[in-house]
């Protein structure tokens, strides 16, 4: 935090502006210290830690079944995918064979979560630019997904549906019918999104050529997900290191090369269509059988360290567990996508105008609890 004296006594006509910790455009308690010269950004300094809940430390005192619920609270928009990553890591340690049915259910749920997350991002990003209507349209379709989740998993946002060895309960009988109805509706609605926002001239002028991130920078900042793929870095974990049934599904890794805000926007819009394609392939072919593998009552991971990574809606999530052979993990580390993506914000915004900062930040799709954990 810069004090008043520091701001006033600043030399070189520089002005320091605090954006946040409470600011409507940061979607949470993110604090940015921006150094301005006139209206041009010289430096962006993110200050983190306002919503740190020490989830990693908390997980060390929970057993391998219990700690999964806490990870829903990291990146709450892709809570399901976080749970998936944790379940995969525990299964890797215990060498549990997950039944086919559970794998199919997991991947369908993951993709539904991804669509829901991207829809919320689309609405929130348009709101950052001053357009209020898209937010309601996005939430209208997202509501269908949350209702499907509520019916099968029991909760709308923090599902806690994954358990080591499969999923907690079997699918709701109406699940397939509802998902198909959603796909059919969503196909027509996504064209509406393009009509409303993508083709809009004001939107395009604020996005194209703004917030440029080169391929080299994207790699060196450790960006993943849509941010890196917009700069032409191939980093989709689902494609490069397939987990569960992703290797059986035909889908394209979406890549753009421009590296600007508009490219990042287009990546996510196209990813939603790709997710729809994946769900369509899987929804009719869910095999019969168990939804959960038989596991021991008390899970004990063998001594050693285990690392898994998955592709969340924001990028690559890595779960690292160090086990001493006890019922609780010795150390857990989460490599969260939002943290690395935020670190590239300085590079993107430097030299640009203050008004473009919010637009650039909107395309990063930041979830603050994911950054602070």
């Amino acid at each position: 935090m810069y004090t008043e004296t520091q701001i006033v006594n600043n030399s070189d006509d520089e002005l320091v502006v605090n954006v946040g910790p409470q600011h409507p455009a940061t979607h949470g308690v993110l604090h940015l210290v921006i150094t301005l010269q006139g209206e041009t950004i010289k430096k962006v300094e993110p200050h983190l830690g306002y919503i740190h809940r020490s989830i990693e430390k908390m997980c060390e005192s929970l057993t391998y079944r219990q700690f999964i619920y806490a990870t829903s609270r990291m990146d709450y928009l892709s809570a399901h995918i976080n749970n998936h990553a944790c379940a995969l890591t525990v299964e890797k340690g215990l060498q549990i064979e997950v039944p086919q049915r559970a794998q199919y259910i997991r991947v369908i749920m993951d993709e539904l979560t991804r669509i829901a997350s991207h829809e919320l991002w689309w609405g929130a990003m348009a709101m950052d630019l001053g357009a209020f209507t898209p937010f309601f349209y996005a939430f209208r379709e997202r509501e269908m997904i949350t209702e499907i989740m509520e019916e099968t998993c029991g909760a709308r946002l923090t599902m806690n549906y994954m358990v080591p060895g499969g999923v907690m309960t079997d699918l709701h009988p109406d699940f397939q019918k509802k998902v198909k109805a959603f796909i059919q509706l969503f196909r027509s609605k996504i064209d509406e999104y393009d009509e409303l926002v993508t083709g809009n001239i004001i939107f395009q002028n604020r996005m194209k050529g703004v917030g440029y991130l080169s391929k080299e920078d994207a790699i060196s900042y450790g960006c993943t997900g849509a941010v890196a793929r917009a700069s032409g870095v191939s980093c989709d974990i689902r494609k490069l290191y397939p987990y569960d049934v992703y290797d059986k599904v035909a889908f394209d890794e979406i890549l753009e090369t421009e590296g600007d805000s508009f490219a990042r926007y287009m990546i996510r819009m196209r990813e939603m269509k790709e997710s729809i394609k994946m769900i369509e392939q899987l929804i009719d072919n869910i095999p019969e059988g168990d939804y959960q593998a038989k596991t021991k009552a008390v899970l004990k991971l063998p001594k050693g360290d285990f690392y898994t990574r998955v592709e969340t809606a924001r990028g690559e999530l890595g779960v690292y567990i160090v086990s001493e052979g006890a019922t609780t993990p010795y150390r857990i580390k989460f490599r969260s996508p939002g943290f690395s993506n935020l670190s590239a914000l300085d590079q993107m915004a430097r030299g640009g105008k203050l008004g473009d900062l919010m637009a650039t930040m909107g395309t990063l799709d930041l979830v603050i609890p994911d950054i602070d954990r």
């Binding site: 929970l62 079944r65 219990q66 700690f67 619920y69 806490a70 209507t133 209208r140 509501e143 209702e147 509520e150 019916e151 099968t152 998993c153 029991g154 909760a155 923090t158 806690n160 358990v163 907690m168 309960t169 709701h172 509406e192 009509e195 409303l196 926002v197 083709g199 809009n200 001239i201 004001i202």
Partner: protein, 158 residues
């Protein structure tokens, strides 16, 4: 040439703005497409999903009997120490000592509604209720005793 481009740019821009406005107008004149729930007014007809996790409940049958054996599996499964199972010893007809449930304490204020306790219960004694309106004036009322007074374990549940 420059003027031609300039004018076509303006025409394109105006068209893109109108396409967006057309969509907004489309929904503006069709109020039936609005999906907003009038929540406090629709409480009588509002039905939550069967699996919705609102609170932990212990169903009792008409004879005031439950299925809890007091095995504390739920207490061990809970990540937040929300559940405390207090047990006692009862005498069976064969004059043997048997563990039985005395009080099932449930701290709703600490519960994250993850559903691990219901998943862990071997006899299906606890379930997730659909009630989600938990706001109270006194926090201490959120600590609940789930087994009803005078209730007993159902015959045949081990």
């Amino acid at each position: 040439m420059f003027i031609k481009e300039y004018i076509s740019e303006i025409a394109k821009a105006t068209k893109s703005l109108w396409t967006g406005m057309k969509l907004t107008g489309h929904y503006f004149v069709r109020p039936k497409t609005v999906i907003t729930q009038q929540y406090p007014d629709n409480r009588d007809t509002l039905k939550m999903a069967d699996r919705f996790r609102g609170e932990v409940t212990m169903p009792h049958d008409e004879n005031n009997q439950h299925a809890c054996t007091g095995c504390t599996a739920c207490e061990l499964a809970c990540p937040n120490a929300t559940i405390k199972v207090i047990t006692k010893f009862e005498l069976t007809p064969e004059n043997k000592k048997k563990k039985a449930l005395d009080t099932f304490v449930y701290h709703l204020d600490m519960c994250t509604l993850c559903g691990l306790c219901v998943d862990a219960c071997p006899s299906g004694a606890i379930q997730m209720g659909q009630n989600f309106e938990h706001s109270v004036y006194d926090r201490s009322t959120l600590t609940k005793k789930l087994n009803k007074p005078g209730s007993k374990i159902r015959e045949g549940v081990e």
